[in-house]
């Protein structure tokens, strides 16, 4: 009986404490300081487990062709590199002000499966600043981004710069006559 009362009192105290944090704003919501280690661990772990769980039931990913990778590069360089950089390519300077900050993705294909990357790109990640790209990209576009991420560990800084130059040359070329 005494044990039940003690547990009840303990849980009530924790509950009141949590409510006080919420109602009185006793939490650092600024982006000026990094997450405390416990918050960083808890949020990142939750994200990783949720992505793995959500991607678990997906059918196998499509086979990627060189054309997929090339189109994926154009999408990545135009939409993703500003926050995630590339080999020899920095992120935009203001990205350093984000908490949590978006990582460089040079070895992300070694940490996630194609299906997991597809989930992350398509649906975004809440409370990290990662948008859900299904709002502005087709599903085929998202797969092409994944195709590029799978190829990215093989890109040197020189390869990336050359791909960027080729893309610029192509997009600034006059449109074909019909």
């Amino acid at each position: 009986m005494l044990i039940v009362l003690a547990w009840g009192a303990g849980l009530a105290t924790v509950g009141v404490g949590a409510l006080a944090v919420i109602l009185f704003g006793y939490f650092d919501v600024t982006a000026s300081t990094p997450h405390p280690p416990l918050i960083a661990w808890a949020t990142h772990m939750t994200m990783q487990k949720a992505v793995r769980r959500n991607a678990a039931g997906m059918p196998p990913p499509p086979r990627f062709t060189a054309a997929n990778v090339q189109h994926g590069f154009a999408l990545y360089d135009g939409h993703c590199a500003v926050c995630h950089g590339g080999p020899g390519v920095p992120r935009a300077p203001w990205i350093s002000g984000m908490t949590p900050g978006p990582p460089f993705l040079l070895d992300t294909a070694r940490q996630w499966t194609p299906n997991q990357l597809y989930r992350i790109v398509r649906h975004g990640v809440r409370m990290t600043g990662m948008p859900a790209w299904d709002q502005t990209m087709t599903q085929a576009d998202v797969w092409d981004v994944v195709a590029f991420l799978e190829a990215l560990p093989g890109y040197t800084a020189g390869d990336y710069a050359r791909a960027r130059a080729a893309e610029t040359a192509q997009s600034s070329a006059p449109p074909p006559r019909s």
Binding site: A40, W41, G88, R91, P103, F104, L105, R110
Partner: protein
């Protein structure tokens, strides 16, 4: 992040302090930087996406070399003698030191680069 690594992230700063406290014989040359500010910059600049860095959140990247024991290394980037000043030079402008390598120039000030170099100089 795996359980052991998460655990390490939590206790690494403590271990680091304990290790420093135990070996006062060799004075550490931190250069003109502040290791505390450097540790925040290492998180902010996402250095851990490419490098394993003891004591830094989520720093488990396996693109570049692990920075564990950096203070004991002889060379920075294989080409500069390992001093805090040279480390800062490399961090500020890696493309000038080793053109075409994968590490980008992220636009740090000299003081910011020295702060990061000071933190790395504590990793023995």
């Amino acid at each position: 992040m795996s359980w052991p690594r998460a655990w390490l992230t939590l206790v690494a700063p403590g271990l680091l302090l304990a290790a420093c406290a135990q070996s006062p014989k060799t004075p550490v040359n931190l250069g003109g930087g502040d290791p505390q500010r450097g540790s925040v910059l290492l998180v902010r600049e996402a250095c851990g996406a490419c490098h394993v860095i003891p004591g830094i959140q989520e720093a488990g990247g396996e693109v570049g070399p692990p920075l564990s024991g950096m203070a004991r290394r002889t060379m920075v980037a294989g080409v500069l003698p390992n001093t805090p000043e040279n480390m800062a030079r490399w961090i500020r402008d890696p493309q000038a030191v080793v053109p075409g390598n994968a590490m980008p120039n992220v636009g740090l000030s000299q003081q910011q680069a020295l702060d990061i170099a000071a933190y790395l100089a504590t990793l023995r």
